[in-house]
Symmetry: C2
Subunit: 279 residues, 2 copies
Amino acid sequence: MTYSELSDQIFQKQSYLCVGLDTDPRKLPSHLRTETDPVFTFNKAIIDATADLAVAYKPNIAFYEAQGPAGWESLQKTLDYIPENCFTIADAKRGDIGNTSDLYARTFFDLTAAGLSFDSVTVAPYMGSDSVLPFLAYDGKWVILLALTSNPGSADFQRQQLQRGPLGHQALFEAVIRTAQTWATPDQLMFVVGATQTNELEQIRKLAPDNFLLVPGVGAQGGSLDDVSRLGLTKSGGLLVNASRSILYASSGTDFAERAKDEAKQLQQEMAQHLSSIR
Amino acid sequence: MTYSELSDQIFQKQSYLCVGLDTDPRKLPSHLRTETDPVFTFNKAIIDATADLAVAYKPNIAFYEAQGPAGWESLQKTLDYIPENCFTIADAKRGDIGNTSDLYARTFFDLTAAGLSFDSVTVAPYMGSDSVLPFLAYDGKWVILLALTSNPGSADFQRQQLQRGPLGHQALFEAVIRTAQTWATPDQLMFVVGATQTNELEQIRKLAPDNFLLVPGVGAQGGSLDDVSRLGLTKSGGLLVNASRSILYASSGTDFAERAKDEAKQLQQEMAQHLSSIR
């Protein structure tokens, strides 16, 4: 999906909601546990319930990997089931030396490798340019680079101030955002910025005025949709705000999909309000 | 495997060789391609040929992941086949927010999750403490944290100098090494230091005098075993030096395992010389 197609979807659906398919078999409603593939059955119901309200789906790969080979099959089926007009994110946080990152890129982008063809993958920046470039070699595919994450540990290294350089003092996450923009245009590069990091969001938006930001941390992690929208929205939308647990586990009963839809609907309606204020 | 057991293995085998099982189906000897599971057949032959010469095996997970569910089955079989007295490393470079890192830890450490129980996993430090601690919660299992990697991109962020703090100026990779030592003892924590980074190895050994260092980059990537050994060895051994391509693909013919053994033997003999100089 291209930048302008994603932007169009946002204004058509009046939503920049990304549903995080962090499906934990231990948390599934009990009536699903006898299914052949309970994870896929659950995801299918969640997708059916939310596809009109969300512009993106983001399975976190850890949840599938932890199920062994069967988990990868659930992931393949889930990806196949996501409607064409939704942007897909493999939240894998991969990154390795060049020839190995090339294999991770094949895993998530090349249908003939592992049976998966996501629009994008999340990548960790620590290993630098040659760990990221192999993902960008796939035309039309996106890298979503970790910048300032939503978790407490983001303070340990991401917020460390670097020595004064040509650009003055900057934190590591700012150097990541600046440097990565020399590797790719906003047509292939997004950044992860946690919803809990609203103090820095304004400044990040200045550093990356045209890049989409993937913002996790609304809901269970406590980030504010209002703040994120006010500081992050652009004329193109420019945001994908992820909610996972608050949607997936809104109910543990047979009404789980209906309740997931209610949660998604509430977020979408708030998003529609914010979108109306920028165009 | 404990610190002292690993150290004992090194002196018994007179080797600190780690064989990187970066098995690429596209590079296998042609006579293996008709096997049901050519990757496992290849790995089995490599392990048989090198098990007396190596103290550790390190499958890079990207190579298996890129084969989809079948790749994870090859990985399970490979891990099961590695002898008990060898240390096993899931080279996965994972790291995510706490509840997700917990799932990655389950994947690689908990046999009942994905059918895998490695001794250790490589972890990326960018997301900080709560992305690493869930791995350390597994008693007797190890985190091998990326510090200064072997690839050119290591200059982009790892070598960035931080502002002067209580410890004076330091590069990001030094901050990673110092900070991580507040999370775990050398009984559970190793660092990845590329063999191409010998200028910094002496200083890293001072920062982490007792931690094992996992050193990739000898062989195809051009690092020097002599330099690494001279600067990195400790009284406990303290090093695992990885070679992958130079061993796996020493020959593309039916003699591949024999040639792999020759390559491993040559490295082991050099290592024995270095070990004799420290005890």
